[in-house]
């Protein structure tokens, strides 16, 4: 029997991992219809929407995939030894082993039940991709649709690649984008993964990246979350071997009335690996932000080095920041620490700048930019860095 969205228990505050983000509340006011396959046939005839091509992150000369309203519209492959293809929805067989990632909510089941397109990206053994792979998720539907996509990335042995995921919309639709990706990093592979969330202001965004890491692999993740009315971005790691480097830099800019949530789970299962997380949030009027980060170090994972830091900046009296940085440690010879700070702009810094001639507004601006820059400074691609800075200025400071 065909399952309906109402058959699922939408994540809510009763589930510990959703303590600060209530998705169910949105469902009390809105009904989201899962997107059906019949729409696919219509949309495939037309051309790629110009809104995608005009987007500053779009580059026709690299590898790219365009999803439009839930379905793959175009795939462009520039590099050799790179495979990108939609896989059959009918075969629900897992492409990447999911046993290391369990969920206690219904998001993945919903994704599986109503899956629109399922993409496989494979970087073949020994390949160092020169061109990045950009995946655009563009939504322009007028109705309350629920969109479910799945991305599977396999980085084979000795590979290097950059993947950008960019979520954009024509800004009007109320939709729910529920996108989950599974990533497998084989021995000695390196992946730079950018998630740039610029969904429409009234949309819901929920996405996760579950990353299986094998020996000597490097995963560098950058999360930039600015769109949507409610956004939940998750990163789950499974560190299955030694000499792995797992990094997450995350920034959410919560505009008026938005809710942003970044939730991570770091599973250190094997000795001698490193993880490093630095998540920042800036909150404006009536907005709320959440960081939940859990670091689990198993008994066998001796000599683990895990670091986690969360900083929130409140710019308004009516903003709210919540944090739950968690450590769960079962091995003794480890270096694990976390820190979290929440507050407004530092008075000492403001005074210092003003004593050098900057007025209050300028000084605040300089400090907010500095707060962001600390994260952006880590991005090696200067072109991308510029675009991200520009996007944050355009959308956030005004």
């Amino acid at each position: 029997m065909q399952k309906l969205i109402k058959d699922f228990d939408i994540p809510n505050k009763k589930i510990e991992t959703w303590k600060f983000t209530d998705l169910k509340k949105i469902f009390e006011k809105n009904i989201f219809e899962p997107l059906s396959t019949s729409i696919k046939n219509e949309s495939i005839k037309s051309n790629v929407d110009t809104n995608v091509e005009k987007n500053i992150f779009f580059d026709p000369n690299i590898n790219f995939v365009i999803f439009e309203n839930g379905f793959v519209k175009k795939i462009n492959i520039q590099s050799k030894n790179l495979e990108i293809k939609p896989t059959k929805i009918a075969s629900k067989k897992q492409i990447i082993d999911q046993k290391n990632f369990s969920r206690n909510d219904s998001l993945l089941e919903i994704n599986e039940t109503f899956l629109n397109d399922n993409l496989l990206i494979k970087i073949k053994k020994g390949t160092k991709l020169k061109e990045p792979i950009s995946i655009f998720y563009y939504n322009s539907e007028k109705k309350n649709y629920l969109i479910n996509n799945r991305i599977n990335v396999i980085a084979e042995k000795d590979t290097e690649a950059v993947i950008n995921e960019i979520f954009i919309s024509n800004n009007k639709a109320i939709y729910w984008n529920n996108v989950h990706s599974y990533i497998c990093l084989e021995q000695n592979s390196k992946l730079e993964h950018y998630k740039i969330q610029l969904e429409g202001d009234s949309s819901i965004h929920s996405s996760s990246s579950s990353v299986n890491c094998n020996s000597s692999s490097i995963y560098n993740n950058f999360i930039f979350s600015i769109g949507g009315s409610l956004s939940r971005i998750e990163v789950n790691s499974s560190i299955n071997s030694s000499d792995i480097n797992f990094n997450i830099k995350g920034l959410y800019l919560a505009k008026t009335n938005q809710h942003h949530d970044i939730t991570t789970v770091m599973q250190h299962k094997h000795p001698e690996s490193k993880s490093n997380q630095h998540i920042k949030g800036i909150l404006q009027k009536n907005s709320s932000g959440v960081f939940q980060g859990k670091v689990i170090v198993s008994q066998d994972a001796q000599k683990t080095d895990a670091f986690q830091f969360n900083q929130n900046l409140l710019l308004s009296e009516s903003a709210e920041a919540n944090a739950k940085p968690e450590l769960e440690i079962y091995a003794d010879d480890v270096k694990c620490s976390h820190g979290a700070t929440t507050g407004e702009l530092d008075e000492q810094m403001l005074f210092y700048l003003r004593s050098r001639g900057l007025n209050k507004e300028e000084a605040q601006k300089v400090l907010i930019e500095g707060f962001i820059n600390e994260l952006f400074d880590e991005i090696k691609n200067s072109e991308l860095k510029k675009k991200l800075l520009l996007t944050s200025k355009k959308n956030f400071f005004k």
Binding site: E16, K19, F20, Q299, Q302, N312, L314, L315, S316, E317, A319, E320, A321, N322, A323, K324, P325, E326, L327, E328, I329, Y330, A331, D332, D333, V334, K335, C336, S337, H338, G339, A340, T341, T342, G343, E344
Partner: protein, 483 residues
């Protein structure tokens, strides 16, 4: 057996006569196993309590029936059969032993290490002695001194009789009877406990301790403490005893409520060393305690210091509700888990008033197969302008079979509030160990020394004599954890 039958009869007779008021004089020392309204009525009747208190107990009991045992903590234990326990037993003298030879040698050796005088050892172990140093008379002397200042320090039951207006005004105002599963159970069946009232402007001249309280023995598994510091007053209260206590009750569900009015301060120190179970994890006390203080007045302060080394399972979160402007909350904690012990402890700092400040320093030490969790909440309410919190949680792991966990919740709803949280995990380094041993310390002394250093920030908050004993206790609790 005969007692049970007899008590059952009595209980029945009470229930029949309840409508008409209490008339029967019940003579028994144990109510039958299990928990129902009749048992609650029996407890209240035995204590000759006024009707409003019985009603309060009954409301709690009815609420409890509808609640589920919490399952969110990290601790694991077999399901407790609440119908398989006794909820009332009359205070009766403990079985007296004839000499120290009859006492468990393990306990004696601990006494020795703690440096407890011989006569005191006998008293603690329950050996019948003619006290040269009679604790009762010491306590009486103190009591006179306190009475002169208008300080009330007595058992909870006594306070219900002598100061019902204070009990009625404050009982359950910090921990409502619906608060949580264990607190609600306590509200229904609490046996006895302590009551302290410090009148306005009085600074209590000595540390109040349950140790010196008359009739304090055998307050049972459901203790209830209520401390009120009226305007401009101060009191330091010590709970517990550093000597290990054998106890037949597995479940301990105590409640402690503290209230400070304007400019008042309460310092509450605990050293908990209940029976932790043996090296194989058999036995031991479940210590499920609800402790909470309300800084009602402006400029008031509540400071919790705890050293938790005992119990098989510790589940407690001494908390502060900072209502008054400029009020201060503090939580200093050392928790040690060795062998199969589990501790899930921490605090809640709820900032409601302006310029409220809180400090949390938590030191968790895990050894053997022990599991140690810090769980804390810092909440800055929308009106907590300029609220400040600083939290530091450090974990020390000794051995590779134990666990250390940190679960902080940080909720900030005020822009000008500032919250800082830091946590670290470390082990005793080989270099530290080598250094100590090269200087002539054996392994156990070296561990004890390093652990004491690790806990220094918390230990220094304890009153002097307590601190010395607590230091020794840390070493003892970790015996056998290395090598």
């Amino acid at each position: 057996m005969s007692i049970d039958v007899e008590t059952k009869k009595t209980v029945k007779s009470i229930t029949k006569k309840y409508k008409y008021g209490f008339t029967t004089n019940v003579e028994s020392d144990k109510a039958p196993k299990g928990l129902n309204e009749d048992i609650v009525k029996l407890i209240s009747k035995k204590k000759d309590e006024p009707k409003w208190l019985l009603d309060w107990r009954l409301k709690a009991f009815r609420a409890w029936l509808k609640m589920d045992e919490p399952n969110w903590s990290m601790v694991k234990f077999p399901k407790i059969d609440y119908q398989d326990s006794y909820y009332y037993s009359a205070p009766k003298p403990k079985k007296k032993l004839k000499s120290l030879n009859e006492v468990d040698p393990a306990i004696l050796s601990t006494y020795e290490k703690l440096g407890i005088p011989l006569e005191e050892q006998k008293r603690l172990a329950g050996v019948a002695v003619d006290y040269v140093f009679d604790s009762t008379s010491v306590a009486t002397t103190f009591k006179d001194q306190l009475a002169k200042l208008g300080i009330i320090f007595c058992s909870f039951s006594e306070a219900v009789k002598k100061h019902p207006e204070l009990i009625k005004k404050y009982l359950g105002t910090v921990i409502p009877y619906t608060d949580n599963y264990f607190a609600t159970l306590n509200s229904a069946v609490f046996s006895d406990g302590s009551f302290v009232y410090i009148p306005p402007g009085v600074r209590c001249p000595m540390e109040l301790s349950t140790y010196f309280r008359i009739n304090a023995e055998n307050t049972g598994q459901f203790e209830r403490t209520l401390i009120i510091a009226d305007k401009d007053s101060y009191v330091s209260y010590l709970e517990g005893c550093t000597a290990p206590m054998r106890d037949e009750n597995q479940l301990h569900a105590a409640c402690v409520e503290l209230i400070t009015l304007d400019n008042a301060e309460i310092k509450y120190s605990t050293v908990q060393n209940w029976y932790p179970g043996d090296e194989k994890g058999k036995g031991g006390v479940y210590n499920f305690v609800t402790k909470r203080g309300a800084c009602r007045g402006n400029n008031s302060k509540i400071s919790w210091t705890q050293v938790e080394t005992g119990s098989a399972i510790t589940w407690k979160y001494p908390s502060c509700i900072l209502q008054g402007d400029n009020s201060v909350g503090e939580f200093y904690s050392v928790a040690i888990t060795n062998n199969f012990q589990q501790a899930d402890t921490g605090t809640k700092m709820i900032h409601l008033g302006k310029n409220t400040k809180s400090t949390i320093i938590s030191k968790g030490i895990s050894a053997g197969k022990g599991q140690n969790t810090y769980r804390g909440l810092v909440r800055m309410g929308p009106k907590a302008t300029n609220g400040r919190n600083f939290t530091q949680c450090d974990s020390l792991l000794i051995g590779d079979r134990c666990g250390a966990h940190t679960v902080p919740y940080i909720e900030v709803k005020n822009q000008s509030a500032k919250v800082e949280h830091e946590a670290t995990t470390s082990k005793i380094s080989d270099e530290q160990m080598f250094y100590c041993r090269q200087r002539g310390l054996d392994q156990e002394n070296a561990v004890s020394l390093i652990v004491n250093g690790f806990c220094k920030e918390v230990l220094k908050e304890l009153p002097m004599e307590f601190a010395v004993e607590a230091q020794k206790l840390l070493g003892i609790s970790l015996e056998g954890s290395v090598g």
